[in-house]
Symmetry: C2
């Protein structure tokens, strides 16, 4: 079974164009910094982030705002999907990069349309996959951030990457600066810790290539 990253995965070109019509789909572009107003205006639409990055924010009464969710390529969003018991209009989707977004009717996703398109099951499956994979990713990062020290955070993240790669060696997916952001720690403090770990021989670092050397397990 393959990994689902695209809501239209395993749906043919032909079915897609058929569906676009069926669902009254429309693609729109937004520039970095702009607010996707369709979000609050038409709660019946859901959006698929085809390209770019965005955030889902909640606006507090005092003007402060909380980031509720980070949205990346392939993510699905829409009021129909995030409704909680707070007021409509207090939430916004804001583009942090130039975005390309495909909107379509939420009702179409959850029930079959008149024409009884056969790919509906696949579409629902893909949606569920994308959302549950997101939960796993978020939980993964939560586990990392729950670690108390920088050293533990590094270890935790490294072992996830190692496991994902199936070996003790792997490539960092981003720069050390971004790594510090991802681990939510100070970059210089992280570098210092990394240096110590190298000296102690618990990791080997060469550019973005990392080799983890697990300490002997006590038992």
């Amino acid at each position: 079974m393959e990994q689902v990253t695209n809501i239209f995965q395993n749906i043919t070109e032909q079915e897609c164009s058929q569906m676009m019509h069926c669902f009254q789909a429309a693609e729109k572009r937004y520039s970095a910094g702009s607010v996707i107003s369709t979000y609050s205006r038409d709660s019946q639409k859901i959006g698929i982030l085809r390209e770019g990055q965005a955030i889902l924010v909640r606006i507090h009464s005092d003007g402060r705002q909380t980031i509720l969710e980070d949205l990346h390529q392939g993510d699905i969003f829409g009021e129909a999907l995030t409704f909680e018991n707070f007021d409509i209009g207090t939430m916004q989707v804001v583009c942090t990069e130039n975005c390309r977004i495909l909107f379509f009717d939420y009702a179409c996703l959850i029930r079959r349309c008149q024409k009884a398109c056969t790919f509906h099951s696949q579409l629902v499956h893909n949606s569920l996959q994308i959302m549950s994979r997101k939960a796993v990713q978020l939980s993964e990062r939560l586990e990392i951030l729950s670690q108390r020290s920088i050293r533990e955070k590094l270890f935790c993240y490294f072992s996830i990457l190692a496991a994902r790669n199936g070996r003790e060696t792997f490539q960092l997916p981003f720069s050390f600066s971004s790594l510090a952001d991802y681990l939510a720690v100070d970059r210089s403090a992280m570098m210092r810790e990394l240096k110590k770990m190298k000296e102690e021989g618990t990791v080997e670092v060469e550019k973005r290539r990392i080799v983890t050397i697990y300490p002997r397990q006590p038992f």
Copy 2:
């Protein structure tokens, strides 16, 4: 619109029992510490956590394990929903409390059964709601844990609770010990910080009743 916490919300009793048959549903009980083996054996089943708590863990080759997800009441899980590009059998759902779990066929959820039950849309809608609400919750905690200091973490969490309650006063949903766990900080350090904040007058604490006093916004 109301908050969806139960996958069967807005589905009548009658439809439910009809569905149970339709979906070959079965409820099982697990005691704390036990592994839900159905998870890896029958990948076509999904589970609904009706009662209790569980975790989704990945078992590494060296015996170590990573918690991928925390599962709480109402959560949906199943291999069909969490499959990534790692081996089957390396993941387990382990009960951390006594659990009551309802299993049913995943295929039934995503496509209409022979009898064309009308509540399918509702079921799919509920599933999507539950999963997206989970993403919001996880992101919320991520934002909190991304804060650098204990003070910022407290503020961040308190303002989320305040916003949720619609006022500056609210009740902590759990003990201070649990709060420290939730914020992933040392309890005594948190108490110390809380004391400082009380002295400075930025919060009022009386048992589990918290009043946040926002500092004047600079502009």
